[in-house]
Each structure stands twice: as structure tokens, then as C-alpha cells.
């Protein structure tokens, strides 16, 4: 009954969730049960790769929520992703314990290398999983809150907001590049050993991380859909279309924007935290402005203002990236540029718009 209604109100979303469900069953079976000699065996490398795409999809979902529905173009969403990733990275670093190259049970290798004597205060607590997970949510959320509070209150919108978000991620990148910041500088954090006591190199751990990504994406999708279908979602679209009118109707526009921005940043942080154990490294290049811009391209290609569009865009573009960077390494950036130009000119509503053209959007 409920599922039927969901299917009718959000066909694309229903297909997406079904696809994720299928993925959650098929991928682990093909990897763990089917023997390696079989042609149907899925390598752990592929499992991790798909897991990585799913993290990107979650990040794209977070951006689509604010850009597609509220018109807040953030060109710095990679920063929240990276902060979530760093929080997870710090936990994984602490789990290495005395198995590092220098064998120091207390300090990560890069700190020993810098001749530091003790753990900086902001590393305290990161040996506990729950604390690290709290920080995954709290740090991006808090940054988004402070940043959003100042910019929305001053009524900074449009291009200006895009530029300062870009500056934000660039500034963070420069800061994290510095060794004395205590986050591994240039090299970032890597060489992780285990998570919650499970070996990160083991197939089963990889599959578990993959499943966690599937679940995170599915739950986030449903949460975003709930927000968009609620009255709050309608207020948000109203803000996008006619901000002054919304204010005169009696909504405190700044609060709504801030709430949504923080929620989106938290989703981005969670995506980052799932990403790091799967790729095995986090370094300041995750803060690079280019990453955040690429993210905008995923959403635009998939179709902004449609949550599953963002997911689709992230998956497709990243698959294309993997393929092209392997097959034609020199051409990838040109292909990406061309893709964005073509989509903007011919498919202003993205790939999903192409599919949707056939029928009007169903009545809610």
C-alpha cells in the first residue's frame, strides 16, 4: 500500500531504491560466494569501486538538495565531504597503534616524523569509534552552520555565495596542506590497518563497507525525499522561485536555508566518512576546488532538482571517468568539459529530463 503510493509519487526514486536493494544482494554474493575461478566472480577491487561511486552519489544527493531545490549553488561542498573523511581518517590512524613504521603506540607516523612528543588536543577521543562518528556529523555540520549563518543572514546569494564557498574549500585545502596543522600535511593519512577490529584488506570488510554505503545512500535518499515532499520542501522551492514573496508570506527564509544547508553538509560528511576506508587514503587534495566543481557537473548531467537524477549523474560520470582515464588518459578533462557544455546546451534538465519529457510530472 505504502510502497504502491511511493512508486506512483516517485517512480525514479522507487527504481533507484530497487536498484540499490538488488546491488546489496548481488554484489556480496558475486564477490564472496561465487568462486574466484568463475567468470561471474566480482573482484574486491570492483566492489570497492562501486562503493566509492555510491559515496560520490550520496555527495551529489546532498548538493542536489540545496542547489536543485533551494537554488543555493555551493562550489565548496567537497569541503564537507573531506572534513567527514578526515574525521574518519583520524579514527583509522589511531587504530594503527604501534603497527606504524616507527612503532609508536601513541603517535601516528607523521607526528613522529615531525618530532612531536604528544598527541595534539584535537586528536583526543578519536581512538573511540563513536566519538569519531559524532565528529563526522558534527564538524561539517558546525562549519556549515557558522558559514551559512553569516552568509544567509547577510543575504548573500547566487554567484557571490558560490564564490565564497569556493574560497572556503580553497582556504581549507591550503590549511590542511600545512604540516603543523597536525593532519598529515601534504601526504594526508593512509596505510590504515583496520576498522572496529576488522582488517580493512579483508574481502568481508570491503563488502561490509560497500553495504554500509548502499544503506547510507538509500536512507539518505528516503530522508531527502521526505523533506522535499513535506511542507518544508515546498517552502524551500518557494524560496528558490520567489525569495521576497516567501519572506512576506511569513517564513524566516534564512532559517530554512540554514537548516537545509547544515543537513546537506552532514550528508556530505557521512559520504566522506564512508569513502575514506574504501579508498584507503585522505589528503588535502580532496579539498581542491576542482572536486567541488566536478560535483556540480555530476548533478547537472544527471538532472538537478530531481534527487535520483543527481545519483544517476554521479554514477554515470564517475564510471565514464574510470573508463576514460584508463583508456584515454589525456582526453578525460576534454571529455568532461565537452560533457558539461553539451548537457547545458541540449539537456538543461539533465539526463533525467530527457526521460521525463515524455510525460508531465505526476501530481503529488
Amino acid at each position: 500500500m505504502l510502497l504502491g503510493r511511493f512508486y506512483h509519487s516517485d517512480r525514479g526514486g522507487a527504481i533507484l531504491l530497487a536498484g540499490l536493494f538488488l546491488l546489496a544482494i548481488v554484489v556480496p554474493v558475486l564477490n564472496l560466494v561465487v568462486p574466484e575461478s568463475s567468470p561471474f566472480h566480482l573482484s574486491t577491487y570492483t566492489v570497492t569501486l562501486i562503493g566509492k561511486y555510491l559515496c560520490y552519489a550520496l555527495l551529489a544527493l546532498a548538493l542536489d538538495l540545496i542547489w536543485g531545490y533551494c537554488g543555493i549553488l555551493s562550489l565548496g561542498h567537497g569541503a564537507f565531504f573531506a572534513l567527514g573523511g578526515y574525521a574518519m581518517g583520524m579514527y583509522l590512524m589511531r587504530q594503527i597503534g604501534d603497527r606504524g613504521v616507527y612503532g609508536n603506540p601513541e603517535l601516528p607516523d607523521f607526528m613522529v616524523f615531525l618530532n612531536w612528543q604528544e598527541l595534539p588536543w584535537y586528536w583526543l577521543g578519536f581512538d573511540m569509534f563513536w566519538f569519531a562518528m559524532l565528529m563526522v556529523v558534527l564538524v561539517p555540520g558546525l562549519l556549515a552552520f557558522v558559514f551559512g549563518w553569516f552568509s544567509f543572514r547577510s543575504r548573500v546569494t547566487g554567484v557571490y555565495l558560490a564564490i565564497i564557498t569556493q574560497a572556503l574549500t580553497f582556504a581549507l585545502m591550503l590549511a590542511f596542506f600545512r604540516n603543523e596543522m597536525g593532519f598529515g600535511g601534504n601526504n594526508g593519512m593512509t596505510d590504515f590497518k583496520d576498522i572496529l577490529g576488522f582488517d580493512l584488506q579483508a574481502d568481508s570488510t570491503r563488502v561490509a563497507l560497500f553495504l554500509a554505503s548502499v544503506v547510507a545512500l538509500a536512507v539518505s535518499y528516503v530522508a531527502c525525499r521526505f523533506i522535499i515532499n513535506s511542507k518544508l520542501g515546498r517552502v524551500i522551492v518557494a524560496i528558490r522561485d520567489a525569495e521576497p514573496r516567501t519572506r512576506f508570506v511569513g517564513y524566516q527564509v534564512e532559517r530554512f536555508k540554514l537548516w537545509l544547508f547544515v543537513f546537506s553538509a552532514v550528508l556530505a560528511g557521512i559520504a566522506g566518512a564512508l569513502y575514506v576506508p574504501q579508498v584507503g587514503i585522505i589528503n588535502p587534495s580532496e579539498f581542491a576546488p576542482l572536486n567541488s566543481i566536478e560535483l556540480v557537473i555530476w548533478v547537472a548531467v544527471g538532472g538537478r532538482g530531481m534527487l535520483y537524477g543527481a545519483v544517476l549523474g554521479a554514477l554515470l560520470v564517475n564510471y565514464a571517468k574510470t573508463y576514460f582515464t584508463a583508456a584515454f588518459p589525456d582526453l578525460w578533462l576534454f571529455a568532461l568539459g565537452a560533457l558539461f557544455v553539451l548537457v547545458t546546451i541540449f539537456l538543461p534538465k539533465g539526463l533525467v529530463g530527457l526521460w521525463k519529457k515524455r510525460g508531465k510530472e505526476p501530481e503529488p
Binding site: 513535506s230 511542507k231 522561485d241 514573496r245 517564513y251 501530481e363
Partner: protein, 278 residues
């Protein structure tokens, strides 16, 4: 002396930062015991030396329908901006009822407190349906969390149906607001004001771009609203003003030039000189 002025301004004892103000409670029984619901006294607004409003004093009675006319640049829209909190005046006072000082409140507070405004160009939420436009405008708790979990109760649904009836858009209820005709958008916007259950409706050029028939309907609509609400209409169309006006205020260069019935105003030599005689 001069350099100290900004500091003095910041430290003025009678003005406090907005965020430090105590919450104003708009009680449903607004104190209008002296007649007027809206008081503007000696309001002056200047933009780079140009005085958009110049010692403007204006009183709107509870439940009256007032038309405000005046040549371009007379300060009609600026006056609305001041009442709704969009523009802060340089001096003067604006009161809502006997006790509520509108100059201390934000746009949102004023809107929630009972002053609704229709803009010159119709602005509705184009990618929402007519019904959703009204739903969003409906008086309710408009905080973030209550809005997330809000759903319409029967009384609210009835109220929306009633408003749809009043603005004659019942059949278009599930159409996207963006697809409505210009006149229908104007009505929808008036409907959105009604949904806020305001005490005062500020209506800026309601019949601009309407056909004769639509204009007539709008006149009926606005006259029927007076009594329950105070309605302030700013309009250029003299024919329209004549058809609805009981009391007309003529603005000129930011202050009131004449006030009275349409006939009195039209025969006032000063008015003829600045406006009608042109």
C-alpha cells in the same frame, strides 16, 4: 564632531539592536480602540539625499478601504516598504494598533503579525500548484521543524476551499501557478494574502494589466474584503479607484497632499495642478 556621529548613532539609548528586542506578541485582539489600525507619523525616508517620503503622516482606520493615488515617484511603494519592514525610515514612527511598533520588527514578523502585502508585479510560487500556494500562505506556525512535520487539518482545508471560491480559482486548484493568466495570478496573490488572515492588506496596483471584466471582478473582491480587513490599495487606474474608493489619499513628493472622497479630491485645485491636470 562629525567623526563621532556614527558612534552616537550606535549608542542611541532609544534604539537597540533588533536582535536584542523582546519578542513582540501580536495578540488576536489588537488594540484599535482609537479607530486607526495603522499609524504613520512624520515618516521620512531619503535615498542619497532624495526624499522619497517627506514627513508623511497617514492613518488607516480599522476595516476601511483606502485608496492611495499619486504621480510616479510620489512615494507610494516606499510607504508600503516602510510598513512591511523592507525599508527603515530615517525618522518618524509607524505603529500597528496602539502598541506595536513596526519599526522594531522584521519583515517576517510583520507578515506573521497580520500585515499582508501584494507586490506590484504579481509574484506567486510558479512551480507550485494554486492549492500549494495557498497552503504555504496559510496562517500557521512557520518555524522550520513545525513546517517539516506539518499537515493540513480539516479546518485548514476548508479555509483553502473557501479562499479558492473567493478568488474564483476552484477549477484551477491543481494547475501550476506559473501557467495562470496575469489576472489570475493577481487574484491568487490576493488569495495568498487572505490565507495569512491579515488585519491589513496592502495591495499594490491590483488591476495593472487586467481586462475590463477582470478589473470589475477585482473591484468586487476588494470591496467585499473591506470591513473584515483594512485594505489599502495603491493604484494608477483612476476609473478603478473611482469605482471602489470611499476615501482617497493623494500623495505628492513624499507627503499627503489631499485626503477625502473622490469628488472632493478631484476638485481640489492643488491635486488638479500636480496630478489630474497633467
Amino acid at each position: 564632531m562629525k567623526p563621532l556621529d556614527p558612534l552616537r548613532k550606535a549608542l542611541r539609548r532609544d534604539r537597540v539592536f533588533d536582535f536584542m528586542m523582546p519578542q513582540v506578541v501580536f495578540s488576536p485582539d489588537l488594540d484599535v480602540s482609537h479607530g486607526p489600525i495603522l499609524y504613520l507619523e512624520d515618516v521620512t525616508v531619503s535615498f542619497d539625499g532624495f526624499k522619497a517620503l517627506n514627513n508623511l503622516s497617514l492613518y488607516i482606520d480599522d476595516g476601511e478601504l483606502r485608496c492611495i493615488i499619486g504621480p510616479n515617484g510620489a512615494g507610494k511603494t516606499t510607504m508600503m516598504d516602510v510598513i512591511t519592514g523592507k525599508t527603515r525610515p530615517d525618522s518618524g514612527s509607524v505603529f500597528f494598533g496602539q502598541k506595536i511598533d513596526l519599526l522594531r520588527l522584521s519583515e517576517t514578523d510583520i507578515a506573521q503579525g497580520g500585515i499582508g502585502r501584494k507586490f506590484q508585479r504579481p509574484t506567486v510560487f510558479e512551480s507550485h500548484t494554486v492549492y500549494e500556494n495557498l497552503e504555504l500562505s496559510l496562517a500557521a506556525d512557520k518555524g522550520v521543524w513545525p513546517t517539516l512535520f506539518a499537515s493540513l487539518n480539516q479546518a485548514q482545508k476548508d479555509r483553502i476551499d473557501e479562499i479558492l471560491e473567493i478568488i474564483a480559482l476552484t477549477e484551477q486548484r491543481h494547475h501550476l501557478a506559473g501557467t495562470l493568466s496575469h489576472g489570475q495570478k493577481q487574484w491568487l496573490e490576493i488569495g495568498m494574502l487572505l490565507a495569512q488572515s491579515p488585519r491589513v492588506l496592502l495591495v499594490d496596483e491590483p488591476v495593472a494589466g487586467m481586462t475590463a471584466q477582470e478589473t470589475e471582478r477585482t473591484a468586487e473582491l476588494l470591496t467585499s474584503l473591506a470591513g473584515k480587513h483594512s485594505v489599502v490599495v495603491v493604484e494608477h487606474d483612476m476609473e478603478f479607484v473611482r469605482s471602489i474608493a470611499r476615501k482617497v489619499t493623494v500623495l505628492h513628493e513624499g507627503s499627503v497632499l489631499a485626503e477625502g472622497s473622490m469628488d472632493e479630491v478631484q476638485n481640489d485645485p492643488r491635486v488638479i495642478e500636480v496630478y489630474l491636470g497633467e
